[in-house]
Amino acid sequence: MKLIKNKKSNLSLIEKRIKELCGENKPNGFFFNLTQDNHIVKGALLFVNEKFIKLTEKDNDLEEDEVDITSMKDFEFCTAVGLSYIRCLKNGELYELCRADMRYNSELSAAAKALNKVVREKKSFDNLSQKNVCKKCGKILKDSATKCPHCSMGKKGVLKRLYMISKPHLPIVLLSVFLFFVTTAIQLITPQIQKSMVDNYINADVSSQNIVHVTKGLFILVLGLAIANLLVRIIGIFRNNILAKAGNKIVIKLCSMTFEKVQSMSLSDISKHTAGDLMSRISNDTAQISRFITNILPSLVEQSLTFVSVIGVLLFYSPKMTLFVVAPIPFVLLLHRAIHRYTHSLYHKQWFVNSEANTVLHDIFKGIRVVKVFGTEKQEIEKYDKAIKNTAIVSEKNEIIWNVLTPVSTFAFGIGSYIITYFVGNKILEGTMSFGDMTMISSYVAFIYGPLRWASRLPRMIMRTFTSVTKVFEVIDETPQIADSENAMNKEIKGKIEFKNVDFSYDNMNDVLKDINLTVSPGEMVGIVGKSGAGKSTLLNLVMRLYDVNSGTILIDGQDIRDYSQECLRSQIGAVLQETFLFSGTIFANIAYANPSASREEIIKAAKLANAHSFIMKLPDGYNTFIGESGYTLSGGERQRIAIARAILVNPKILILDEATASLDTETEKLIQDALKNLIKNRTTIAIAHRLSTLRNATKLYVIDKNTIAESGTHEQLIQKGGIYSGLINAQREMHKISKESDNHE
């Protein structure tokens, strides 16, 4: 969000003042843009010469105050709806320091932290102006963004990309262009043959010549026409074949490039896109790009070639006539341009309503159990009806527009030909032109309208391609937030995990973990306990390096986790999560997922250790049972045990259990507990569990509260301490009692 007003003058008052204050140095401070009563201003809080100065420019008035930071403390970043502000205690009273809309959100949040450091730790104010800024336009980027949405790839960039993709296939594209030359040349000759046919034979004075000779000549000409036509077709077949091959190669290359990129993106990168969005980029947009390179681009060459050469020929015969042909063209193109905006939006709308209808459908099918349970089928039918009716309305509108537009523009294009017929007809009557000339000229004129009609569709096709290119390359160009360092290590780990002063937040605003310090020795099992939302799962995500820490370090075997290659790290970490995802495929394939080279015996052993073997053997298809969306439905406990078998098979050095036994009944839990016992033997294990009994094997427990470690120690130590953990234990005992009593009542 930016005020346009100030664009006229080069520097606003505030910018001038900042220059005066800071000179050539980069200003140290941050910007804001609202007053406490939500008036738009240009504001900055600067740290100059050990002093804080607040500048506020409103209606071409600049206000300057020195902020007495020593009277303030407890700076807090607060968010409201559509704005955020920093509040603090000033002489013991609440005070609002500054306020801004969402654009400055992360700046303000960082500023509040820095201000607290200034006051509490007497540190100097960090330079905050070194923000994630777009190099092109200087606008602040959102934390997660790697690319400025304001100046996304321009047309130049798109063309460069297109060239890059088509470069390996350049010989084929060039060959096809050459073939276009050939066919165009052949096509240009045919009207000449037609002319000679009419003038010399059909319309000639036959009686004066030998009839046999004439028929023979005519036959040769007709044969020539046929051969020319055949040649054009054959060359066409050849050309289309090689182009199709090249096109397929391009699609495959682009698809795999995009998919590879998506796979290498970190979780936080991926969660920026929706699954559907990524899917359509991988499948639809890449196809559009290939269509452009192998179809639209060569056609563009062909059509312009035809157009130019036909115009040339016509000019040669009669410049006046050429004018008649060309005269209506600008008007028709203008007509197309005028309605383009409208039709473009209609296309857009059509695309949108279609996707909406699909979303509704997808939603209903995904939630079909909820629909059935609550008996809301009618409601859902109505919802879908409405969506589909919307599609119908829009597509009807679209059809009508095109059905009117196409004939009208075809007619308009053709107006020239009527004028020409009249003109040439007159000439024939005068005797200055022959019938053959007329045939030839109308053939040429017919040629010229093809490219024109095609050209009227061109902007739309180009637009669509450009959009696709930007979409695809947005993904391909993305720099992954979690990247391997240049000399990333690949080595076997022993399993010592250390957290040193780790801070982490997902959005750079609200700390999820703060100052975490913990050590897990190799082979030890550590339990993490805490309320939901305390940051337990986040801690595990950090161990797996699904996200990188904001400050502090995580060490594995004394080495920073960021020094390991991600592949090396994850291949030695096994995880059993609360939500088990099984891919559609056989049970065998699912267990072998992370270790496809495992032998059948190993798979059975792993399943046995995971207590899964016995239930698998009860299935008629055994390990070949097909599971997944269309296959056999497993219960929660069964899925969990397959996940455990999967983890066992990897033989990980570090094992992560995130609520692996939650939402299971006691009996199943017992089975899984036993399975886990087998798994965690001699393995570094970090486990989260709501049911504290699950953690009875843990050598040490950490209680996370208020985003940091509140207590740690063994079960007995913590009980004795009588803190949060003992409170949780008591609460669970109570619960247990109640549920037992109610069981007895039943």
């Binding site: 406490q36 738009i40 700076f75 709806v81 559509g82 205690l89 609440l94 809309d101 959100n105 996304s152």
Partner: protein, 206 residues
């Protein structure tokens, strides 16, 4: 059968009888009530901890339920945050009032508070920020982003919207909210009262 909601859940209502509101010199809305935050969902952040010497927290620290250091909640005078439960439907009704420890209660209708109603309304208005679009100067779309230049009640803005269709919320037939890439929001109260040119520009997205 008895409705399950009848005896199991209770809403704590804030009324002029049990609480009053005032504004500090620095413009902060404060409450004075003996009610305390009901459930402490989010523990107070470190910097929110009240200093015992501070004017408004002196009398507010109550000892926690089991006698240890945990401060459960405060009573008396303290700053409050307001949230609209139904921001689109009732801007001044069903207002959730919370202090740093959690929700204290709900105001059914701000107007019940007579003179202090103005304070509450003002607080609400300044904590919900969405410039109202009066005129659309230009609207261009390129590569999946749309670029807007508009006149608002707060001045002129230019902003960018990604995936335009999905970032327009239709509150009802005529009222819409547009969310830009920075997650700022812009409101059009009545799309049909826009001038013809503006309407034509936005029509494509409706």
């Amino acid at each position: 059968m008895e409705n399950i909601l009848e005896n199991t859940v209770e809403i704590s209502y804030l009324t002029p009888e049990n609480s009053s509101f005032f504004v500090t010199d620095n413009g902060f809305l404060m409450i004075d009530t003996q009610l305390k935050a009901q459930s402490i969902n989010e523990p107070p952040k470190e910097c929110r901890k009240f200093d015992l010497n501070d004017t408004y927290s002196k009398n507010n620290i109550k000892s926690g339920n089991n006698g240890n250091k945990i401060v459960s909640a405060v009573i008396g005078k303290r700053a409050v945050h307001l949230r609209r439960a139904f921001p689109f439907d009732y801007p001044y009704k069903y207002i959730s009032v919370s202090d740093d420890y959690g929700e204290i209660g709900i105001i059914l209708d701000v107007d019940l508070f007579g003179e202090s109603a103005e304070y509450i309304k003002n607080e609400l208005d300044t904590k919900y920020f969405a410039p109202k679009i009066i005129q659309i100067v230009s609207l261009k779309e390129r590569f999946g982003y749309s670029y807007w230049k508009v006149k608002c009640n707060k001045g002129d803005y230019s902003f960018t919207v990604k995936d335009t269709f999905r970032n327009i919320i239709h509150v009802n037939d005529k009222r819409i909210f547009i969310t830009d890439v920075d997650s700022n929001r812009y409101e059009i109260e009545d799309i049909y009262s826009l001038d013809r040119n503006s309407f034509r520009k936005i029509e494509l997205y409706l």
